[in-house]
Structure formats: C-alpha cells, structure tokens
Symmetry: D3
Subunit: 268 residues, 6 copies
C-alpha cells in the first residue's frame, strides 16, 4: 500500500516556459525508457518476486521512487507549457516566424488534448505501453534489464541536458542523472550477487542440456573482421571463444507437406 505527500522529491521548476523543451521531456516520462517504464517494471518485478525479500524490497523502494520522478517531470512539463502560444491571433506562421517555429515544433496535443499539461506519451505522441516493461520472475535477467533501463534513461537525460540552458530544468536533470547513477550501480550490485548464486549465463542451469558445441563459437556471417577480434578471449564463464569463418548451414532445405486444400494455400 502507498502514501503520498504533496511535496515533490526534488525541484521541478524551470526558469521560464519553453513548450519545445516540454515536448522533449516527454521522452523521460512516457518514452520506451522513460520513468513510467522504470516505475511499472520495478513495481511489477517486486510484486511478482517469489524469492528473496532483499531484492523484492530494493525493487519496491526504487519503483516507489520512480512514481515520484514521473510526478516531478509531469510538474515540470506543465510549468514549461504555461502561456504557450495557441491562439490564432498569433497567426504565427505568417507574420512571426520565430513564434511560428515554436508552434510548429510543439506537440499540438499538449494544447488540444491536455490543456497545456503533460501527457503519458513520448515526444512523438506515441502512448506509453506495457510492451516497454519487463517482469520475468528471473531476477538475474530482470536486474540486467533494470541496469539497461537506467542506462538508456540516463543517456537520454544527458542528451536533454545539452538541449537547454534553463538552469531550473538543468537542476532537475542533474538530480535525475544522480539517481540514475545510483540505480545503475545498485542494480549492477544486485545483478552480480545473483550471478554469483545462479551463474553468469541466464538461466544458469541449462548448461547440461544445450548443444555446448555451439555455445562459445563466434560465427562469422559477413566479410567483416570484427567478430574474429574476440577469438581466444576468455568469456565471463571462464571458457574461451572460438571463431568460425564460414558457418555451415546444417539444417537442410526445408520441405513441407502440401497444405490441406480447404486452406486454399498454394499447392505447388
């Protein structure tokens, strides 16, 4: 169960409105790697955890924090949209090209649909969907996913940082950068502990089942030399990579029985 305080976790106050930056920040809210993806993935993983209480709690703590990040970015976006140009009076694209560019570059749905407040979309208006989130029950895989979530998110925040000189926005982004550093590092630590326990290749207990003959072979399918560069190196599981210049097609030319005529498939 959850409780809410009206206070934000950190400042979310721009120096001045900027509807183009409002649009860009939607990436960190409703984009593939935005805060909603973090929030929904970590909470789901925590709620679904059938194992260690320690990791379950780490996930729920971080998921709970991410709700606060969605809150901060939503607040920031609404403030960046204050007074954004929407009127025909402006008739911007005829007489005032700079204003016109703002109107052209804004997300038109910010005004029409949301009354100049945040959406749950990315900057191109694609609605957030749960196909971005992950919860598999296997914590090694999912901790790795969480490190990626924080890596791609921090990368995007870093790019956003250079797209504005507004010190208020930058202040919030500096906080998010720091938290994404922490989250990357904590999930890596959990990942390492879990790898120690379950093995480095996920999942860890299928080694005796797989066709091991093919499990350390760099297969070359091109006229490039890059894959060969890893030949002889030691993989994280302690074995060495070998290299196959011309991997054979071992499966033969597939044939099928003719389909039932009532399917109206091609009958050859």
């Amino acid at each position: 169960m959850f409780k809410h305080t009206r206070k934000l976790q950190y400042n979310a106050k721009p120096d001045r409105p900027d509807p183009l930056m409002a649009r860009r920040l939607q990436e960190s809210l409703g984009g593939q790697w935005g805060e909603v993806t973090g929030m929904m993935s970590y909470l789901s993983q925590g709620w679904s955890s059938t194992g260690s209480e320690k990791y379950k709690d780490l996930l729920l703590d971080t998921g709970t924090e991410e709700i606060a990040h969605v809150e901060m970015i939503s607040t920031m976006i609404a403030r960046l949209l204050e007074g954004a140009p929407i009127y025909a009076e402006a008739d911007a694209y005829k007489s005032d090209p700079a204003l016109a560019a703002v109107m052209g570059g804004m997300d038109p749905e910010h005004a029409i649909v949301h009354g100049l407040t945040a959406s749950l979309n990315n900057p191109n208006g694609a609605a957030w969907n749960a196909g971005y989130a992950t919860s598999s029950g296997n914590l090694v895989a999912d901790m790795r996913f969480n490190v990626v979530r924080e890596s791609e998110a921090r990368l995007q925040v870093s790019r956003l940082y250079y797209m504005t000189r507004d010190e208020g926005i930058r202040d919030m982004l500096k906080f998010l950068l720091a938290r994404e550093t922490q989250h990357q590092l904590q999930f890596m630590k959990a990942q390492e502990e879990l790898e120690d326990k379950y093995g480095v290749v996920v999942p860890g207990d299928m080694k005796d089942i797989e066709h091991t003959k093919y499990s350390h072979v760099l297969m070359n399918f091109s006229d490039g030399d890059g894959s060969r560069a890893f030949e002889g190196q030691v993989a994280k599981d302690g074995e060495k990579f070998t290299y196959q210049e011309n991997p054979e097609a071992m499966g033969g030319v597939p044939t099928f029985k003719p389909a039932d005529p009532h399917l109206h498939n091609d009958q050859g």
Copy 2:
C-alpha cells in the same frame, strides 16, 4: 547487402505436429524478447554505428544470424501446424474433449489468417512492434540491452524446453540455448571492453555535471529492510553506497498559474 541459402542454419523438424506448441513458440519469434527483436536491434545498431568497426561487425554478424533463427522457428511452427484440427466435422468441443482442448488452445489466427503457418506475433496474437527494439548510438547501453535480450530469450527457451517432450523441437531449442549462451557471453565481453573505455555508469562523462550528493544513496521509501542490505558495499565505480532511512521531499508543494481561460481548465 545480404545473400540467402535455402538451407537452414540448424534442424527445425519436430517429431510430430503439435499446434499448442506451435502457438507457444511464437514467443521466440514475435514476442517482446523474441528473435525478431534480436534481429532488428542488432542490425539497426550495426547500421547506425558511427564508431568502431569491430563492434559494428559483431552486431551485423549476430543480426544476420538472427534472421536465420527467425527462419528456423518459422519453419518449425509451420511443421507443428501440419494437419492441425480445423474442421467442423470434429465438432470437437462436443464429442471429443481432448481434441476440443487442442482447438481451444490453438491460436485461431494460425488457421484463419495464416493457413497453418507462422505469424509475426507472440502467442497471444500481439503483433511484433519496433517498441521492443533498441538502437541508441551508445554502445555500452546497447550492449547491455543485447545481453538482456539474449538473457530473457534464453530464459523463455528454457521454459519452452520443459513444455514439450518432442525430441525434434528439443533439438532445435538446444541449439538456440547454445547460441544464446554465446551471444550473452560475446555481448558481455564487448560491454566490458566498452565500460573500460567509457566508464561503468552510462554515459561516462556526466559525473561532473550531476548532483553527486545523490548518486550513491540507497533511498528507502518503504517499511522493508532490503535496500539497507547494500549499505557500505562498494559499487562498481569504486564508491560506497550510503543509506537514507527517510528520504526527504525536497521539492516543495508545486503550484501553477491558473490556466488560460480559453483552455477551459479548472480555474480553482
């Protein structure tokens, strides 16, 4: 540019048809972490690579192999669907409950839409979409994503393995397990090299910008003790985690200017 041989990379021949297993295998084809996600992510990353030729080639070799995996699984699914029950004659759910269960558990679109061949969907019929794939230009983040892709995919193949006793299907899955071992290990190796070069926190050059005061703090937002367990441990970047029992809400209660009346928002 690409060339194709009609021969499959490996065997994709079940001992006997099984339309329920055909449906389940769609996860490895068109699911969030299926082979199409691998193929489209690695190829995109390779084509977009503006850096090292070595990693570009590794990505394109692996992406090219994944096309062959999509081909193998498509072939396997079509074979598993041979002779699947579709006729009213069966009228299965009245007289033959076992057959009825097969008809109920099949993907009805396999017959109606695809003439008993594979789709590009997951087992619930959700169409593959590019929101599953990733290509960011930052190879540390993307190599991490690739390790996750191979981890979640191998996890799913491992679960699928126990869902059948068909030795033909298992033979193919054993091959996929092995290749996903290799791909996990090779992308980890590339990830490590790139972390050595660019730093372990992605992206590596924002440390002087972020609010470092918050970048190694485990924040507790619950009555659970799990996060505290990491206190004092050394993070992968060499610094130690601290722990904050009661993180403060530092951002104040947000206020907004009343919206322009022509937006018809609530005016308070």
Copy 3:
C-alpha cells in the same frame, strides 16, 4: 443497413488552406475522443443492445450522424491541405522561415502517405484504435461513457476554435459544438432514466454482495486535505460519506511459495 448521400450534413469549407490547422483537426477525426470513437462506440453499442429498442435507436441515430461528422472533417482537412508546400524548390527552412515553419509543423504523412488528404490518425500520427471505443452491454455505464466522449470532444473543438480565425473552419466547428451539446444532453437524459431503473451505482444489483463497510469511506492516502472536504456530504445514493485519516493496510505482507525450479525464477 445504411444509405449515403453525397451531400454533407453541414458546411466544411475553409476560407483558405492551412496545413497546420489540417493537422490539428485530425484530433477530432482520429484522436482518442474524436468522431471515429463516437461513431464506432455508438454503432457497436446499438448493434450489441439486447435491451430497450428506444436506446438502441438513439444510439444508432447518433452513430449514423457521427459517420457524417467524420465525412465533414475529412473533407475539411483535404481542403485545408490544398496547395500545401511540399516541394524542395521552397527549400523553405533556409530562405523563407515562415514557410519553413509551416513545413516543419505539418504532418509529413499528409503529403507522403495520403497525397494531401485526411488520415485516420491523431495530429501526432497515432493510428486510431478500437481501444478508444467502448461497448459493454451495460447501458448506464455506456451512456456515461458517451457523455464523456461528447464532453472531451466538445472541449477539444472549443480549444481548436481559438486556434484559427478562418470563418469557414469556425462555421463547421460551431455546428459541431452544437451537436455535441445535443449529444451530451440526450445521453445524460438517457443515463438518468437508466439510473432510475437500475440504480445510480453501476451495476445496481451488487450492493448486498460488496463489503459495504468500505463503500462510503473517503480514504486519505496523503498529507492533503481535499478528500476530507467531502466528509458528511450526501452521496448520490442517499448515504453519507465518512472519512478515514489513516487507512490501515489490512492485507498483511504477502508471501509466495517458491516457484518451480524449472521456471528459473529467483528462489530466495
């Protein structure tokens, strides 16, 4: 069954082309609350109605009118796109910034995909989908949905109204505003009749089953005071709201059996 006349229900003729306004009007066509949502929801509800012929007919009348609204807006958009700048000659973003802003702000798919005619998308190019529509069989719930559809749609039309000074566009919007007034009012009237019959809480016959102890309690989960303001007020079903300052977590800490090891979940 349906019949069509080539004549539009009302005027859809702008004074002059305006490709930015064409893009914005896509919200009223293919957006979440646009006319396609109205048309498909009301028709589906009507076709699915297993009850009163009166409401079925009201729904089908209104759904049939909405097809004509989609037709009018499609026509308007095509006319607004007549002569829109698409040529490289313009090379607008270098020499003519006002024109550049138009080109930047247009929906590029209007030209590339649709030959400067309407799409079935919203202004951000998201394709209309049936997840926007509703047909539940329960007419109280669905009439309420229909009132919302007309409310959000009229709100958007109101915002669009101030985004143009084109008297031709405004003429059409004034007609749509009026029809959305009518549709709000008629669906409210139907809703009231149905509430009288089936009860104000949907669905109306579960009162003896629910845990009534919790059915009139304003629960506070924050440090805000807003919810308390409703304390003691009379709800629409005649009972009074009570207020709970600190709602208890009554469900205990959940525990799970360890997952089957073959699932490769975390085992704790």
Copy 4:
C-alpha cells in the same frame, strides 16, 4: 513523493490456485478499464491540476489507492498461478482432457514470459497503453471520465465475481466492489459541484459561440422511433429537446481542386 508498506491494503489470497481465473483477473489489472487505467488517469489529472487544491488532493488520494489495487491484483494473480500445469509430462491434451482444457485456456505468456506471475496485459495479452487513460485539464470532463472508469471497472468485477466460487477471490472482489462504489459516488459528487460552477454542458462557456439552432435537436437518421421518445423532454440545461424526422444534408456535394500532379493522385 510516495512511500510504500509491504502490507497489502486488503486480502488477496485465493483458496486455491486457478490459472484460468488468473487470466481473467488480468482484465482488472491491465485492461482498458482496469486499475492501471485508474491509477495513471487519477495521478496524471492530479499532477496536471492547475485549479482547486481540493480536487487535486481527491485525485491523488484515489490514484494512490489504485496503486495498492494493482498491487493486490498482481499478488492474487501470482498466487492463482502457483503450481499451474506447464510440463510436457502432462501432455494434457492427449490423455487428460480436463487438464488439457486448463492448459488451453491459460495465458501461455503467464508461464513463458512471466514465470507464473502477473503481466501488465489484459486477458488476451494486449499490453496496457496510455490511450486508455485521460487527463484533459478540464475537471468536469475528467470527473465524468473517472465515474465511467469506476462504472466499467465495477461492472467487470461484478461479472468476474460470478465466474468463481473461490471465497478468497470473492473476498477481494467484494472489497474492490465497495471501493468502486465509493469512487463512483465521490467522483459524481465532485462532478456535480463542478457542473454547478462551470455549467452542465462541457465546456460551459461556448454557448454564445455555437450554432444554437442545432443544440437541442434530436435528429433521426433511421427508420427507428427511439430518438423521438425524448421529444419535448427537458434537458439537464433546462431547455427542451425538439425532434427532426428527416434532417437535411445542408453541406452540399463537396468538390476539390485537382491535386498537384506530382502527388500522382487521381486527376479525374
């Protein structure tokens, strides 16, 4: 900012596992009208509120409660999936038709993707998406939406109630039914207050602008008599409905200028 307790808001403990019921409950979690839609809509509306603190707090209190409902249903689903049949040993659809039916009726992704825990999807595996949620800035419209959300959700819970005899599941559903009663009633109350302030037709201040001639006319587009039944009745804004048996097509037959030849459109 948010805090979490490991304790659930209410019981979420089935008497025994039931993977088919687990699948059905996904509707209340990730479906169009499920708890995630409530949670994301109310939180977004609260965070975007530029008006009264009272309604903002009501929205955030309810949104915060909904997170706890998602948590409860996720927990319930994971428990219902404990020990679900996944093994080939069962080979269910050949020898044990009852077991086969369970396997056929389960969501195969529950096992393959989520390790027998909850997803963020509906029972057909469609991923939750933000196109289900609404936040417009206009609180009359949005409170109406919220009443609908609680109406459709309670309707679905009512239907789910009769699909099981498990007293543990029913206990949780009885609690959800009660809370959805409360939420319907509280949002209706807020809606009424806001209608008193802003007018009953949303938005309230466009009356002088719209073509009022068409704003209280029941238009008949069919050979049905249902719409006529409302003729002469008093609408909620105090005016009477009139009825038009044969609404005229007032807009003429639309014509277009021939498209620019470089668009390769049909030239007539």
Copy 5:
C-alpha cells in the same frame, strides 16, 4: 451523410449458439483484413478522392455496404454468444471437460468486457487499428489494395466456412463470399481502367526519372533457382525481364563522421 434502417442487409441468424465460432468470426469484423478495414478504407478513399466522381461513388457505395456487413457480423456474434457458459457453477475444467474446452477456447473478454456481445477486435483480442487501412490519393494503388482486402477477406471467410456446420452461419458466409466476389471483380475492373489511363507501374509518370537499368532485372540473392524462371518473360509493361545471377554490391562500405561527443555515441 448517412441513413440507417434497422433491417439487416442479409440474414445473420445462427442455428444455435457457439461461443468458439463467435470468437473466430471476430477476424472478419476487427481483424487486419476484416470488414472494418474495408469500411474505413473505402469511405476514406471516397471522401479523399480529388478525381473522378465515378470512382468516388463506387468507393462510397461499397464503403456504405461494408458498414452493413460490420452490423451483420456484430449481430451474428452476439447471437452466437447467447447463453455462453460463464458461471463458476460449471467449474467446467474440473468435471466437464467438453464444457471446459469451450470456456478455455472462448474469448474471455466477450463475457467480462462486452457482456457476451461483439468487440471491435480480432479473435486474439487485438484492437482494430487504422494502420490496417489505406487511403493514398492514388487510385490505382488504392484499387489494388481494395482487391487485396477483398481477396484476403474472402480467403478468411472460406476458411471459416469449413470450421462450422451451422447452416445459419454458413448462410451468412455464403452471402459474404458472393459480395466479396463482386467487390474483387468491380475493383479489378476499376483498377484496369485506371491502369489504362495512368500506366501499369504505379505511379505512372516516373519512368524517365528512375534508373531504368535496374527496373526489369530479376536479382538473385540466393542459391535458389526460382527467380530465374521469369527470365525472358514479358512484363505487364511490355518489356522483358533479365536475370542477374550475382548482383553486385554497388554502394561501397559506408563510413560516418564520428558523432558529436555530447551524444555519447561510440567514438570508435
């Protein structure tokens, strides 16, 4: 503008309920090639037509008919769902495997979401979306699309035909088969007329611009011989196909400038 009669275009009355067939018929309603795709594509093309009144009218006549087909199938589905098993009493998957199979194979949302009436989804519950429809302004391309729509739709209806022995369902399918014959033939006829006018390769006036050297070459990218079989044959534009056994990669190895460091891309 449109008018509606309560009478269906043709019979839609099954001999008896069959919830599995109800699910399958959703393909013809809300699937990729279902009637909604026809209806929305033909109406959009008609409304967007900037050319010949003749084709515009053909499109609008057929689009108007398709609304009636959606109506018929919606009606059929609701009737097939009458009395479908939804109760726990059945507890079907324990005691009555045949009934269990029905419950397992039904679309659970038919009951939970739609009260046993039709949805706007396909049999796997994927919501219809406008990405299935097409309206390009170019009538040759779009008439071809329409022929495909009618071809894939008729194929699916043909497969559905053999999945039931219910004479009521079959009666409706026989009517749909006939109309899809007519629609294929009429759109082919229109396509031919338009090809005569605009040329057989769409669009018809780019021949002098394209690199004609590559426009009649069968390029072989495999070890298969199939493409060669067309060598020397006369294409529909009167020219002969040539065959290239080993197409050359003419574009060189692409290189990029290193990305701006602030993007944090790999720098090589």
Copy 6:
C-alpha cells in the same frame, strides 16, 4: 541462412545533411508500406510457402534484397542527421527562425533516443508493427498484396523525390524507384500465373458454395451514379455486372434474447 557484406547494394550518400529529409525518409523505412513491411512480408511468405519452389525462391530473393534496402535507407538517414542542430546554444526558436524551423520540424527522438541515427519508426514516430505485414499461405492473395506494397512504396518514393533537390538522395531514390518497378512487375507476373492456375477470384474454389445471385451485382447505396457506370461490363471472370438501384434489406430487424441478468446488461 543469410550472409552479409559490408558493402551497400547501392549508393546512399546525400550531398549534405538535412534532418527534415531524414525524418521524411523514415516513411520508406518503418512506415506502413516501407521496406521493413516488404522485407518481413516476403520473407514470411517465403518461409511459410507450402507450395511451389519457384515462388518461394522469388519471395526469398526479393525479401533478401529488401533487407539491403532497409540498410541503405538507415545509412542515408544517419548521414542526413550528421551535425543536426541539437544544442541550446542555438536557442533557435528565439534568434534564428530558419534554424528554429529545422529544430521544430525534426523528429526529436532522432537526437534524444537514437543519437542522430535512424529509427524503425515512420516520420511521426509510430513504431513499425507486424500488423502492416501479410502472409496468408494463399499466394494469389499475397502476390496481390506484394504488388500493392510495391505500388504504395513507389508512390511514396515518388513524392519524396520532389521534396528534395539533393542529388545524392535523388540518386538513391532513382534506384529504389527502379527496383520497385521491377518488383511490381515480377509480382504481377507471378500473380497472373497463379490466377491462371487457381482462378481470378480468390480463393478460386468457393464458387459453387457462395450465393451466386449476389456475386455480380453492383449495389447502389447512395444518390451517386458512379457504380452504375460499370453495369453491363464484363468482369475479369467473364461474367457481366448487373446493377441494383435500391438494394433491399433482406435480413429483417434483429432481435435478441434478454441477456443473463448476472451480466448486468440492459434488460429492455
């Protein structure tokens, strides 16, 4: 199985960067009719083919070529994005309106998400999804689909051609135009051969089953005269079209049994 060469099939080198053109070209990559749709459709059709080796090979050859087209366009887009304006320094929309227009018209995700390289989306940022692709098992229908894919794609490339004067982009587009000519023609040829074998109406063997009375009737549902224009003409199957001015509604007014009360549907 596939092999890759680092060399592109053809030149993909613009004369100079142009981020607006980069955005537009996404249509040919990840749009409904873009190269990914071609690649995934032809490969799927080829892998699913249960009939003639000749068509299977033609499909796989063309599908393999399309991967190379995706590669070329991805390369072109990354090059067009080199040096695109992303910095706040520009602060473009205030001081330099021409630059502002570029920034407003760019896809913001090109910079934020992809580090100025290509995405798998269309120009409006909608992710490619498998609902655009088709593979039915029936090669007549699918060859027709393929002709449409190449027609709509070539139409879009033709429109894109006039949107730039960059000779490097045009060079690549001229090559694509040529290949799309070839692919249209080769699929038409295959279609004709298959029509000769299986009949012109798809599928070819349902003629004796359908209600033939309705299979050559142009039905008029409007006050337009266009459909009548085809009266008496000979359809491609050799029969003549007849015309019905006022098609009768033959299906009667549908009635339903009242729904089970536990569904809480309207009871009339």
